[in-house]
Symmetry: C2
Subunit: 208 residues, 2 copies
């Protein structure tokens, strides 16, 4: 991997700025108790980050509440269980997979950035509208980790443009400190035991 990662000072500065924005955001929402649109982050090296987000997505579907999903991943697996099930609820579920744009193997950074931008533009529409009750930004953390999108812009949209009752769930390892700072709910999925060490491959229904 030759792409430069953001350095620690940058991260600390962004986290500090985010903290101030978060305080203003909390003040705006003060008084709400029963319901609040949450910024939820699933991070860590263990499994279950995307699965736990999908559990909430499908709870929404079960309740008849519209959801939007953007997968920020490089993957040829379009035929996932989640994609097939979401497709059965066209009135409730919007799915955007930007996977095929990614070119990490070929190190075409400009093309990766363009794909990330297209995914984020779609994500922003879903975050801003009044229709979707939950928006899942799957593996956005990876995109931010490689600095393909500016963290300031993501934080600003989440704090300033997200309707107060909408939940946004962001997954992926190495969540940016500025994102953790503004999040309401952060869970670290910690690896205890993993079957791949025993030579078992990713399985249908479990990993996809």
């Amino acid at each position: 991997m030759t792409d430069p990662l953001p350095d620690r000072d940058d991260n600390a500065r962004h986290a500090e700025k985010a903290k101030k924005r978060k305080a203003a955001h909390d003040k705006k929402l003060s008084g709400m108790t029963d319901s609040k649109g949450l910024i939820i982050v699933h991070t860590g090296t263990g499994k279950g980050k995307t699965s736990a987000a999908l559990g909430m997505v499908f709870r929404h579907i079960g309740h008849g509440m519209p959801v939007g999903v953007v997968h920020f991943t490089k993957s040829e697996k379009w035929n996932t269980g989640e994609a097939k099930l979401l497709a059965q609820f066209p009135e409730l579920a919007t799915l955007h997979i930007m996977g095929e744009g990614f070119t990490w193997e070929t190190q075409d950074r400009e093309r990766d950035i363009a794909a990330a931008r297209a995914g984020w533009d779609r994500a922003r529409e879903l975050i801003r509208d009044d229709r979707h009750r939950m928006v899942l930004l799957d593996e956005l953390n990876i995109v931010l980790r490689y600095d393909y999108l500016p963290i300031e812009e993501i934080v600003a949209v989440l704090l300033d443009e997200k309707p107060a009752d909408k939940h946004v769930v962001i997954t992926g390892r190495n969540a940016h400190p500025a994102l953790i700072e503004i999040a309401d709910l952060v869970t670290d999925m910690t690896l205890v035991k993993h079957p791949f060490r025993a030579g078992v491959k990713a399985q249908k229904g479990v990993e996809f």
Copy 2:
């Protein structure tokens, strides 16, 4: 809570016995690489244990693979998003909620044990049959924590009676050491930040 918890020596002994059974189980399965029915445990004090299990359950549904779900929980919430969505796939999903039998507030231990036993009997049927590809035993860890079911029996059924290609997912805090010992995949959901501290109640679509 007045119920006695199993002591540490008991736990260590059970874990040691489970380790031996697990070795025999692994030997039986040796040679399988591409697919293997996994024993998966989601534990820890963070959120996402049940949600991540449901994500896999709904991936299975999306792929048209039958699943069984047993909720070992005390809850008046029958009208959850997951229950509503599973009910839309009667050919694929079997749901057993043993919640109403539980009486933790009234400390009626005998009645709790009877409810746990009824849930486990149903779970065992689902684990043994050849039809369901994944079985979720939600909050079974809580039941085991209070010694309402004998851990030896659960371990024996998982190792000796589960078809080789079936996945079993077990959730709940404080997973028993003997269960962790025989599991293929264990994730600890670690709390980093929680919105309830800010006075936000459990919300539709997120928690249920």
